[in-house]
Symmetry: C2
Subunit: 258 residues, 2 copies
Amino acid sequence: MHNSIKNIAFAGAGNVAWHLAKGLQAKGYQVKNIWSRDYANALALAGSCGAIAYNSISELREEADLIIVAVADDSIADVARSIGEYEGIVVHTAGSVHLHALKNFFKNCGVFYPLQTFSKGIPLNLEEVPFFLEASSDEVLQLVRHLALNLSAKVYEADSEKRMLLHVAAVFAGNYSNLMYIIGDEILKNSNLPPDLMHPLITETTRKALSGDPLKTQTGPARRHDTATIEKHLQALAALPDYAELYRLLARLISNKY
Amino acid sequence: MHNSIKNIAFAGAGNVAWHLAKGLQAKGYQVKNIWSRDYANALALAGSCGAIAYNSISELREEADLIIVAVADDSIADVARSIGEYEGIVVHTAGSVHLHALKNFFKNCGVFYPLQTFSKGIPLNLEEVPFFLEASSDEVLQLVRHLALNLSAKVYEADSEKRMLLHVAAVFAGNYSNLMYIIGDEILKNSNLPPDLMHPLITETTRKALSGDPLKTQTGPARRHDTATIEKHLQALAALPDYAELYRLLARLISNKY
């Protein structure tokens, strides 16, 4: 292990790798090599950040001080094993994968978890992204923290248990709030209404929740215990039984809070 | 019925009445009188928009060209009945209440539904709010539309059926996405983590959904069919069985879409 991180390699070329590789390159790090199970993806990312795409994962060790494993959660252990013996630092970027998944293979390892939703090709300011770190030793933690602080102003430590809870909370606040937008869109499209009619409501709901406490800014029939309106809505959803079931469950969860 | 609307009265002094009364006053309308079941609320709103609070609802007819009934959905019919005989226009502001609720009592009536989440004391730009109108006649519609266009650039017609579907979609996109924020907060607070860690994720999720299609910008374990992560999250939620049940349902709904 070197006493600073300059050269970085990526295992994975998906949404997270894409944003981290470009962000690190912009901060002056050398992104040397990219490997991906899908070579075309590795080539595309390598091309856009001045790196070289590798076909074989074991080659990643050659020049890197740090290998960032940014692949699907259930592939992390397999990918880590394929890297082979390595004295540098290996980190993964997953919210819900224990550090053990790397510790089994590497002396110097850690977690570098950005709590954010990443989509390839949609630009994002990494400086606003909270990073949660964990490491196999204080020495590794120092090096990884230095890297994280070059990317973001919001760098925290979190052990694997805490990180999992952060990820669960993020699924609700991010993925599942987005599902609510999808369902709203579907209901409008079913009635030939344009989805952007909902945009001012979505903007305002989020603005209020972020500037206060969403428990206090909640509105709507369930908060008012307005069972007559809830029943009418369930009837209106008769043709969409999955959404009717969901509506009922969510109305009950809200009602119970007030 | 006069051939223009100048003087306006409100039955109700809740979140919607609060924003409409202040918005109409700002546009030069005379908000004359406010009645509310809770006289203190009527007094507070009247005081803040130069109106007079009335104790008796039947007095609202005296000076108004238009009475706006902005009360809880299940009180609209009762409140309308209490207004008494009236030649002017009466509108309600509810998404899920049929125009019939007013037609039973008034020749000139309509619906003036702002699709937005309103909280007293939280300022809001009404010009961005979509208003959905319905009326008992073309004449009433013209007058109400003129009023709406003075408040907002987004004025549409929608019959009672369409308006109900808009309201159902708004419950999902607004109230239920906000519930997801509440749940995320609760999970963080249970682990002594500050809720504002989620803010960049919420901001970004919403930004992506509004600038594209939320079905395309969805991320997370359910979209990736990552059942191992989903099972870990369900275990992490073991102490919160309601949320575990909800997590499972929402993960299934997302998985089915990809």
